[in-house]
């Protein structure tokens, strides 16, 4: 029996709802081909052949085992790339996926030959250099665009507007949105195209960014290369709406669907979309149907793996974009058949020569095999170079410490210092932009951190939709572009998990992965909220997790004075910096300047809050005060060090070492649960650096095993405060033994 039977009424009327955003399919006509600019057609033909020959060489080298890692071939998909890129400017941006050689090359070729290609002299020296550097990068060689560290899946050339392809499915799309945001707010009408496949169209990064781009009217084009298969999974299996461009209208985005094997169609669709975006009407979606002739990776056809038929593959080859453009040009009398062959030969010859420059006969291997030329490899000493910047950007700044500050100091609430320093920096640096949930309302967001700022700096305090992954990624793209300096807020640290790919795989790795020189000046603010009853999923201290990421710096100010200095440093650094706050500190007071908010704290310097001889207490944030209270209560002569800089690269080993050599005992104090705790790696490092100075094992105060729950009593038992530090100090004291010789 239908449970709703008794409530059913049949007098309802329904009317179809439609999206405000247009959704169309575009096809070329003979007229389009007849009208197309011959230079455009010639350029497209030349690029198609260069890319095809390049990709064939990559597969050849991969077959010889010379491509370390995967080789995701774009053979068959060149039409979608060439058609869409050919009309773009160098200042327009593109990024792509693991299968991104074709778009990268199209953009690079367009950059070095902005007036088009000459089919009679196809491979100019500039083009040869582009091919050389791209192939070098794919082979992991020092001469590549990213010094060999990016490879096939992380191809970047900022000068050409190639923002960097991405090995995480959809990973580059939020970053592309950041680039588009910067283009728009720098007053240009440039656009950004993010290329990804049918496999990516269902992932969070893409869908969140579609929403964000539409909400913020970003000039961002979501270019979906639908090649019908994600490895071996068909589109029909993976989604309920196989017309992938259909997602656009759902987000209010103008969407086009086009035959990706027809480069002219792709070009015309892109032109229309670009006009839409350059006109400030927001983002666009283009879905291009293409086909990769080979399997996901390597040089075997997909049919060999059983998920599609040889007939299907053959049918698509008959729609080959190289053949289509050539045929149309021959029909119009723009080129002869043998000239077409010559184009192909030029491309192949250039690639054969290039492969020969990068390889040599392998004298240790079987006859006829090749190997990479030894001198082309990057030096192994380069492996850890350029994880972060070299700090030259803060070499000439004014340093202050509260103890020696000679200016006027007033009693200041911590949260007022937070808003105060942000106000000052936004006043002096128009590049700074704040993003986060509700930061633009509620008189300064959820805690008052942005109080007064939305009114003073309209358009620069951005309230985001609830999409941490997308908006921190947007911040990352903004930072990598460099025209703006984003300050992103995570309302609770636990939300880093929602955004983990953008935070760690993208922002945290970008500089190193792309060769070591690309700055990522992003500041991320978040507050530890353990003790507020928000429960297991809102109570973490993220320091331990962030400390695992080599690319992130972490500062943890425990006083208003220090907050000002450390935030100023964070904003000046060219690296991603986590500025860690704590709810317990917001209402606390200290002395801070009100008329001088321009100083920095010394880089990498901890603060000795209390001198002592018997144990070194290492701690940060709200636990500094708890530690000092515990020391008073126990009467133990402890040296309490406020670390202030928490990441491995910035930690103050000098201060820590001097203290341990004096006290011979260490107590690491933090509040949060053991699993995600910060002190594990620190204790390990101390045990090895200072083994001969330790009179007892490194001791620790942490929260309990599980994340704190909402029940007030249970929550208190799950975190560390003063009582737990008292207990820790007593444990250390037991390690002193009972021989009562005092120094």
């Amino acid at each position: 029996m239908d449970p709703f039977q008794r409530y059913r009424v049949d007098m309802t009327t329904t009317s179809p709802l439609t999206s405000d955003a247009p959704w169309v399919e575009l096809r070329t006509t003979d007229e389009d081909w007849a009208q197309a600019d011959p230079v455009l057609l010639a350029t497209m033909l030349g690029q198609l052949h260069l890319i095809r020959a390049f990709e064939e060489t990559v597969l050849e080298l991969a077959g010889e085992g010379l491509v370390h890692g995967p080789a995701h071939s774009s053979i068959g998909q060149e039409g979608g790339a060439v058609g869409s890129v050919v009309g773009l400017r160098s200042t327009d941006g593109v990024n792509g996926s693991h299968r991104g050689h074709h778009q990268f090359l199209a953009k690079a070729l367009g950059h070095v030959a902005p007036d088009g290609l000459d089919l009679n002299a196809l491979v100019t020296p500039e083009i040869r250099t582009v091919l050389h550097r791209t192939l070098s990068e794919i082979l992991g060689l020092a001469g590549g665009f990213s010094n060999g560290r990016g490879g096939s899946m992380h191809l970047q050339w900022h000068e050409a507007g190639a923002l960097g392809t991405n090995a995480i499915v959809g990973g580059g799309v939020p970053l592309g949105a950041g680039h588009a945001w910067a283009q728009k707010h720098a007053g240009t009408d440039d656009v950004t195209l993010c290329y990804f496949g049918d496999g990516a169209v269902n992932i969070g990064s893409v869908l969140e960014t579609m929403n964000l781009a539409a909400a913020w009217d970003l000039p961002l084009c979501f270019f979906i290369e639908n090649n019908l298969y994600a490895v071996s999974t068909s589109v029909a299996e993976a989604t309920g709406e196989p017309r992938l461009s259909g997602r656009g209208p759902g987000f209010g985005i103008a969407s086009w669907r086009v035959d990706g094997m027809d480069p002219l169609a792709v070009h015309l669709a892109t032109t229309a979309a670009a006009e839409h975006m350059r006109g400030g009407r927001g983002p666009a979606v283009i879905e291009a149907e293409v086909y990769r002739y080979f399997h996901q990776n390597g040089s075997f056809p997909g049919s060999a793996f059983g998920y599609r038929t040889k007939d299907e593959e053959q049918a698509w080859r008959e729609r080959d974009p190289l053949d289509l453009v050539a045929r149309r040009m021959v029909e119009r009398g723009l080129i002869e058949d043998d000239a077409v062959v010559a184009v192909r030969s030029q491309a192949q010859a250039a690639m054969a020569l290039l492969a020969g420059e990068l390889t040599e006969p392998d004298t240790d291997g079987k006859a006829g095999t090749r190997r990479i030329r030894a001198e082309l490899w990057p030096d192994t000493s380069f492996a850890d170079v350029g994880i972060r910047g070299d700090l030259s950007e803060i070499a000439e700044v004014r340093i202050e410490e509260e103890a020696t500050f000679t200016g006027r100091l007033d009693t200041t609430r911590f949260i007022d210092a937070v808003a105060g320093v942000m106000d000052r920096r936004m006043e002096t640096d128009p590049r700074i932009v704040v993003l986060g949930e509700d930061v633009h309302r509620l008189k300064g967001g959820t805690n008052g951190a942005t109080k007064g700022l939305p009114e003073k700096y309209p358009g620069r305090i951005l309230g985001t939709p609830i999409s941490e992954n997308a908006f921190v990624g947007l911040g990352g793209g903004m930072a990598m572009d460099g025209r703006f300096r984003p300050v992103v807020e995570f309302m609770y640290p636990d939300f880093l998990w929602v955004a983990a790919d953008q935070v760690f795989n993208q922002i945290g790795k970008a500089r190193h992965m792309f060769g070591g020189t690309g700055a990522v000046p992003l500041v991320l603010r978040t507050k530890v909220a353990a003790g507020t009853g928000y429960g297991s999923q809102h109570s973490m201290d993220p320091a331990g997790i962030f400390a695992t990421a080599a690319g992130w710096r972490i500062v943890a100010p425990s006083t208003p004075f220090d907050y000002i200095g450390l935030m100023n440093t964070a904003l000046a650094l060219e690296d991603p910096v986590l500025v860690l706050e704590h709810v317990d500190l917001y209402g606390s007071t200290g002395t801070a300047p009100t008329d001088d908010l321009d100083y920095q704290l010394p880089f990498g310097r901890a603060a000795v809050r209390r001198e002592g001889r018997d144990v070194t207490v290492l701690t940060y944030l709200s636990m500094v005060q708890h530690s000092l209270e515990a020391v008073e209560q126990t009467g133990i002569d402890a040296e309490v060090i406020d670390l202030r800089w928490l990441d491995r690269a910035s930690l103050d080993w000098d201060t820590i070492g001097a203290s341990i050599r004096k006290t011979n005992a260490v107590l690491i104090v933090e509040q949060g649960a053991v699993g995600t705790s910060y002190g594990g790696w620190l204790g390990d490092e101390i045990s090895r650096r200072f083994f001969d100075w330790l009179d007892q094992p490194v001791a620790r105060v942490t929260g309990a095993e599980a994340s704190p729950t909402i029940s007030q009593r249970l929550e208190r038992a799950a975190i560390a405060k003063t009582d737990e530090v008292v207990d820790g100090l007593r444990r250390v004291q037991e390690g002193f033994g009972t021989s009562g010789v005092d120094r």
Partner: protein, 409 residues
């Protein structure tokens, strides 16, 4: 109560001795201080005297028998002890030992006599903090002597500090007993590692090495003239000490048997003459070694010495520069000290203590006159160098100092 009398070690390091003859018969009684037996070592004949009154219960060893040090030679009993008691004492295993009284040695100053202890049985595992292990290694402390009060019986820093403050215990003679608590006005200067090292090494030297002393008064007029002449050359600053070093080296070359040090198994003789110079620094006494003095010209020697002295004062000597040589020279003449005797620098066998030069009345061939005289006192390790050899060396040294030209030939 019957107890065993053990063969004592007359000299440190001796492993056996001969019981020449008993002075008491079994059953005979003796008073405190009576001679019980005569004991012969390689070098000396010594009377074994009774520490307290008693009766010789049984002689375990007979006249003329060679015995290992530490082995029982007799059972001493009190009035009323029976044969059974004697048997018990003999089979008891490791009874309490009576330590030998200080024997008297002829011709040599008294040396402390050690009863060598059996090494304490080491526990199967010592729990020690890494810090204490490092400190013990640096200060050559035997950790088996300490008790740990840390968790699990771990020896921790405060245990080590307490042990050191109490003067330590165990094999080494106590350097100092626990000092009485100091009155409030007294300043306590904590020991540096160097101060402790000096205390330990020189205590060990003074108490375990048989020192004897020999003095000579030397006419140094010609030496001082030679120095003036040498220093007349611009840029030359040779000191009296440099000349004395050169003289000592020459003496060793003529009496090479004195260029030796004692080791447990052999006398080690050196192919070159290396002599250490005592340097007073702010941190304490340091004795860097000047190498192969014979091969160096006077001016070069002077430069070497000055370099070592400067670096010693700056604390920048290398460890290898502090080791080696059979002899040291120590000069306190600049303080006006007339005469003094120095403590041997282990493992060296001699040290020459130089006093101040003074004008004094002398007698030559019955005629009274004045001359510049310097008193030097030599301390010698009797294990390595006997009196006659030392006297020979000192005479040679004196001859060279008084006729310094002979250093050239």
């Amino acid at each position: 109560m019957a107890h065993l009398l053990l063969m004592p070690a007359i000299l440190a390091g001796a492993t056996e001795a001969v019981l020449l003859s008993w002075h008491v018969q079994p059953g005979g009684s003796f008073a405190e201080g009576d001679a019980l037996a005569e004991i012969e070592t390689d070098k000396a004949l010594v009377e074994l005297t009774a520490e307290e009154a008693g009766v010789l219960g049984r002689a375990v060893v007979l006249d003329g028998q060679r015995v290992a040090v530490g082995d029982p030679i007799a059972v001493l009993i009190a009035e009323g002890d029976t044969e059974a008691d004697i048997e018990t004492a003999l089979t008891a295993g490791a009874p309490e030992a009576t330590s030998a009284s200080e024997p008297s040695l002829d011709a040599a100053p008294p040396a402390a006599s050690d009863v060598p202890e059996l090494p304490a049985p080491s526990p199967s595992r010592l729990f020690v903090s890494p810090l204490v292990r490092k400190l013990a290694r640096e200060q050559e402390i035997d950790l088996t002597q300490l008790t740990g009060t840390g968790p699990g019986g771990r020896i921790v820093r405060r245990d080590l500090e307490a042990w050191v403050a109490a003067g330590g215990s165990g094999r080494r003679p106590a350097a100092a007993s626990t000092p009485p608590p100091a009155p409030a006005e007294v300043e306590e200067i904590p020991h540096t590692g160097m101060r402790r090292a000096i205390a330990r090494r020189l205590t060990e030297s003074k108490t375990t090495v048989p020192h004897f002393y020999m003095t000579a008064e030397l006419r140094v007029g010609r030496l001082l003239d030679l120095r003036a002449e040498v220093n007349a050359r611009p840029g030359t600053h040779v000191s009296v000490n440099d000349l004395l070093l050169k003289a000592a080296a020459a003496a060793f070359e003529r009496v090479p048997e004195a260029n030796v040090v004692w080791t447990d198994d052999a006398l080690r003789r050196f192919p070159t003459v290396d002599i250490a110079v005592a340097v007073a620094t702010d941190a304490g006494l340091v004795t860097p070694v000047v190498r192969d003095i014979g091969a160096q010209s006077l001016t070069r020697l002077s430069t070497s010495v000055r370099d070592l002295v400067d670096r010693a004062r700056a604390g920048r000597l290398h460890q290898h520069e502090l080791e080696g040589g059979a002899c040291s020279i120590s000069n306190l003449g600049m303080y006006g000290t007339r005469e003094f005797s120095a403590i041997l620098n282990p493992p060296q066998s001699s040290i020459l203590a130089i006093g101040a030069t003074r004008d004094t009345v002398v007698v030559d061939d019955g005629t009274i006159g004045t001359a510049q005289v310097m008193t030097v006192t030599m301390s010698v390790d009797h294990r390595a160098v006997d009196g006659a050899l030392a006297a020979q060396w000192l005479a040679e040294f004196g001859r060279i100092v008084e006729h310094p030209v002979s250093m050239l030939v």
